[in-house]
């Protein structure tokens, strides 16, 4: 283009114009990778952090951040209000016990599990990404552990953050440090268990179907229906003054399991009618065993599920 004489002077075709070095795109060719390969543990950790971030929509589209962030806000807002009230009205105790908070806001937690468990596992099934994972150094157990731990951690953040707000607020309101710390610690133990339990149940349901919508609906249905059923039967038992029965009935829904557990083991006040928690030692132990059994069972079911779909 900078050779105006070419057109004017016919003759031997000019050689390719000597391009100045800046014009050239150098193809540097293929480069081998000789750096470190960090193996299974690192890959599992990467999957864990990617799944955890994904549960809050981080590293995903803006749209997918909306719901988890709204739910996180909804979870924390009541705590902030309670704290504000406690600080400004000089209350002598928080309006809600640490262990009761998650039970009161179980609807928000349920929505979070229902929306994020399918996000975490149904997508991999639906878009058949799982074979790409299993053709890499990680094993089935790494995948299940990473996904399980990620959702449990996401749920723990969701349920523990408001407790932290309550605790800080309680200290600001100059409530008794010892009481508050003990209550806060019990609350944390309770939400750890709740997070693992809910994550397990949510993932097992979500991993059954590659259809995200089915997963969401099925998880909501399970949590709402079991809780509704337990509550109404407990109501009937209450009207007949069978308080022991109320305590046993709590075994049949996830949130009442947690309630019964913390009533017996953490000395919390039960949210059951008449505050009738597990009636005796045996019942308390049964709550613990059922929770542990469900968590272990969920893990086993997930392992079984991925043995089938791993490379399909």
């Amino acid at each position: 283009m900078t050779q105006p004489d070419v057109a004017a002077v016919p003759g031997p075709p000019p050689g390719p114009p000597a391009a100045s070095p800046t014009d050239v795109i150098h193809n540097i060719g293929y480069r081998k990778y000789d750096g470190p390969r960090l193996g299974r543990g690192y890959a599992r950790k990467s999957l864990y952090s990617q799944s955890l971030r994904g549960a809050y929509g981080l590293g995903r589209s803006a749209k997918s951040k909306v719901l988890p962030m709204i739910l996180l806000g909804a979870m924390c807002a009541p705590a902030l209000i309670m704290v504000a009230v406690a600080v400004f009205t000089h209350m002598t105790k928080l309006p809600v016990a640490y262990t009761r908070y998650a039970v009161l806001l179980q609807a928000v937690i349920t929505l979070f599990v229902a929306s994020q468990a399918p996000q975490s596992v149904s997508r991999d099934l639906r878009f058949k990404t799982t074979p790409l994972y299993f053709s890499r150094p990680i094993e089935r157990v790494d995948y299940v552990v990473a996904k399980f731990a990620a959702l449990a951690t996401a749920l723990f953040l969701l349920t523990a953050l408001p407790l932290v707000i309550l605790y800080i607020g309680a200290l600001l309101a100059k409530l008794d440090f010892g009481d508050q710390t003990a209550g806060f610690a019990k609350g944390l133990v309770s939400v750890v268990l709740l997070s693992v339990l809910f994550a397990g149940i949510g993932l097992v349901i979500a991993a059954v179907t590659p259809r995200r919508g089915f997963g969401v609906a099925a998880i909501i249905a399970l949590f709402v229906i079991t809780y509704g059923a337990v509550s109404s039967v407990q109501g009937v038992a209450m009207s007949q003054e069978k308080y022991d029965v109320i305590g046993w009935l709590g075994l049949f829904s996830p949130i009442t399991l947690i309630d019964g557990f913390q009533t017996w083991f953490l000395g919390a006040t039960s949210a059951f009618p008449n505050a009738s928690g597990p009636p005796n030692v045996a019942a308390g132990l049964v709550y613990l065993l059922v929770i542990a059994g469900i968590i272990a069972g969920c893990f086993g079911l997930l392992m079984r599920r991925y043995r089938k779909v791993g490379m399909a």
């Binding site: 470190p36 690192y42 589209s61 878009f127 074979p131």
Partner: protein
Amino acid sequence: MRDSRGTHGCGADHYGRPVTVIATESLSKRYPRVTALDRLTVDVNPGVTGLVGANGAGKSTLIKILLGLSPATEGRARVLGLDVATDGAEIRGLVGYMPEHDCLPPDVSATEFVVHMARMSGLPPTAARERTADTLRHVGLYEERYRPMGGYSTGMKQRVKLAQALVHDPKLVLLDEPTNGLDPAGRDEMLGLIRRVHTDFGISVLVTSHLLGELERTSDHIVVIDGGKLLRASSTRDFTQETASLAVEVTDREQDLLVMLGAAGLTVQSSGHLLLVDMADEESYDLVRDAVAQLGVGLVRMEQRRHRIAELFTDDNPYGHPEDGPEGGPDDGPGDGPDSPAGDRAEEKSGTPAAPGTSQEGDGRDAA
């Protein structure tokens, strides 16, 4: 260069054994109702190896076993010198796998996805990002790599699938039907890319297909399995040599030439104004040249034709009837040049011999 790279890439120096990328020994996989692999014994050397078989021939089962994901019922297999039964995780760190089906989530970009997959292969975060940028460039994905993959064409998706198999710089990649769903141009590009994976990147390739024609052009070696059994394994050259025929066109006296060549011991058939000579060995070229010179006629062209590899397996006598094909005389002219992969596809499995095959190679012979 290819050979030296290939030798280097296969890891012989690490394991001190012969340069065998994959070695199976009486490998069998039986399900309750089906035998997917039946005492398969095959060695795969560095380079590009085509694994050919109909759907259900056992190709995917073999890949699963090689990745250490599915235990063999009996027999043994080694990949890069490692035993699939005990060193699965280590093998999967050194091998890349491109599945046949879609496997890309539509709502993330190619870059994010491949970075994640690189980390799943054990690359540290910075290396994962650098390797992703490099690899996506090598497979030919540029600006679009930042867009969600849901909007990609099939060709672009196949490139991302290939990139995720290459991102950790494996020593071997297993590509399961990489040309599935691509249009003719896309298939040619993908085959060229697969060739480059070995020649430029020094990575050995096992590529499966149910289309023999395309593997013939891409592979150094071809392994054919059917019903889980090994039908044949040898170099592509061996395959094509014994299936080669030479189309000779002269200006005049075709019948005389036919008689002369027949007298010289060659098998010759007349097809319109073309003579089709079965190539026994390199000397056949000389015989044809001498005969033409002796007759004093003009030699219009000599073109290498290939019988499809398919014939080897569909006919008992593959050389018997090379001209039954749809060889419309005049159409065989210069129109052969742009070899159409779509045409290949149509011929496959029907066992129809020798439509215009890889005529590019033949052009080189015209100088004779």
